[in-house]
């Protein structure tokens, strides 16, 4: 494996993809290292030679810290894939909503040809918009939602729920929510309130 730091708190790791290993964009794997195990969504597309994971470095977070500090070339084992968090064909427009590294499965979907109408990415600062260049051209609208932008001309300042409440046209959508469970709860309750009849698929990270 090898790491690449995307921001102060986030890094990617790349694993050699075993020949017989297949997955669907949006699925996750269980990674094992030093007797620790955790599920991570794949951020690469199934056509790529490597498997990419996008990991939030948590000081004191046992596995993320060990992986962030691991030597390049360290052998890791994993099993999977798991999960049903995959894009379903639909007549309704697709809205992808991520917080932090919850963007990982959406990157996999976009790299595999998905063209969602909206991608919302809730992060702290613009330094955390590591996949912006890739995601912006692939979607109708890529909307970074920053809690501390310092530049409200360029970025939407506020939470993803603030954006949805103020700007998302009223109709039915397919919402895909990935990341912090508080975000998933808040968006789900907002959808119940303002976008009733929409469909929701979720993957809670932390």
């Amino acid at each position: 494996m090898e790491q690449r730091w995307l921001s102060k708190k986030t890094f990617e790791i790349k694993l050699r993809r075993p020949e017989a290993f297949n997955f669907k964009p949006g699925q996750r794997i269980s990674l094992k290292y030093k007797n620790l195990e955790r599920d991570y969504s794949l951020a690469s597309s199934p056509d790529e030679a490597h498997l990419t994971l996008c990991i939030r470095y948590v000081a004191g977070g046992l596995l993320s810290q060990a992986l962030g500090d691991a030597e390049i070339g360290t052998g890791l084992s994993f099993y999977g894939p798991h999960g049903y968090f995959t894009i379903k064909p639909s007549q309704r427009p697709t809205v992808l909503v991520a917080s932090g590294t919850g963007i990982a499965p959406f990157r996999s979907m976009v790299r595999s040809g998905a063209a969602p109408e909206f991608i919302l990415h809730g992060v702290e600062t613009s330094a955390d918009l590591y996949y912006a260049e890739e995601l912006a051209p692939a979607s109708g609208k890529y909307i970074p939602c920053l809690s501390q932008s310092g530049d409200s001309q360029t970025y939407f300042e506020g939470r993803v729920t603030d954006y949805l409440r103020r700007h998302l046209p009223s109709q039915n959508y397919d919402f895909y929510l990935c990341g912090r469970r508080e975000m998933i709860r808040d968006v789900t309750l907002l959808v119940d309130e303002l976008f009733e009849g929409s469909f929701i698929y979720t993957e809670a990270f932390y």
Partner: protein, 190 residues
């Protein structure tokens, strides 16, 4: 993956196929019954004699089938989520029928109604049987408001499965008593 997201705090929940529905809807009642059935079977397994891993294996296989039926109940018509689900197959029903035949061969003929009870494992098997009947009734309710679609086809098969499973749990209750040297408790007019 985290266990709780608190998205159901206001009485709604998400189906596997993505819709938000009331927790009081027929579908949720039906797969809630299956959840209860699985828990009850778990209690039954916990009371089986330790040397009967064959029976606990059989019951765990049934618990896995019940999980699958729950997923079909959580999936509406025309949903692409259907592609992620395993069909309910004839062989799973045949598995139950063979198990019923095997157990019945061990038991004396029954000429009377019996009262649920006896050994604690038999009592749990009866409890599971009656929860299974309730799951079956709620599945009928879901089917009555369904059209001719793939999930409905699977639920029709699930009904056969649940009907057979109730019979299986009935003979298993009797077998649990027999294993512990207890007779059926026959119903007598009071």
């Amino acid at each position: 993956m985290k266990i709780y997201t608190a998205t159901g705090d206001r009485g709604k929940t998400s189906l596997f196929s993505g819709e938000r529905v009331s927790k009081a809807s027929d579908r949720i009642e039906a797969y809630g019954d299956l959840d209860e059935l699985n828990s009850t079977i778990g209690a039954l397994i916990a009371h089986l004699p330790s040397d009967r891993s064959d029976l606990s294996d059989e019951l765990q296989r049934i618990q896995a089938d019940i999980f699958m039926i729950s997923a079909w109940l959580a999936t509406t018509a025309n949903s692409p989520a259907v592609d992620s689900l395993e069909p309910i197959e004839e062989r799973q029903i045949v598995f139950l029928e063979n198990a019923i035949d095997r157990l019945e061969d061990l038991l004396p003929d029954l000429k009377n109604f019996i009262l649920p009870g006896g050994h604690i494992s038999a009592a749990w098997a009866h409890a599971a049987r009656s929860v299974c009947r309730r799951a079956e009734r709620h599945t009928v309710l879901v089917l009555e408001s369904s059209g001719d679609d793939e999930p409905a086809e699977q639920l029709k098969r699930a009904l056969i499965y649940l009907n057979r499973l109730s019979d299986y749990l009935f003979v298993l209750a009797r077998e649990c008593n027999r294993l512990h040297g207890l007779s059926d408790i026959l119903w007598k007019k009071s």
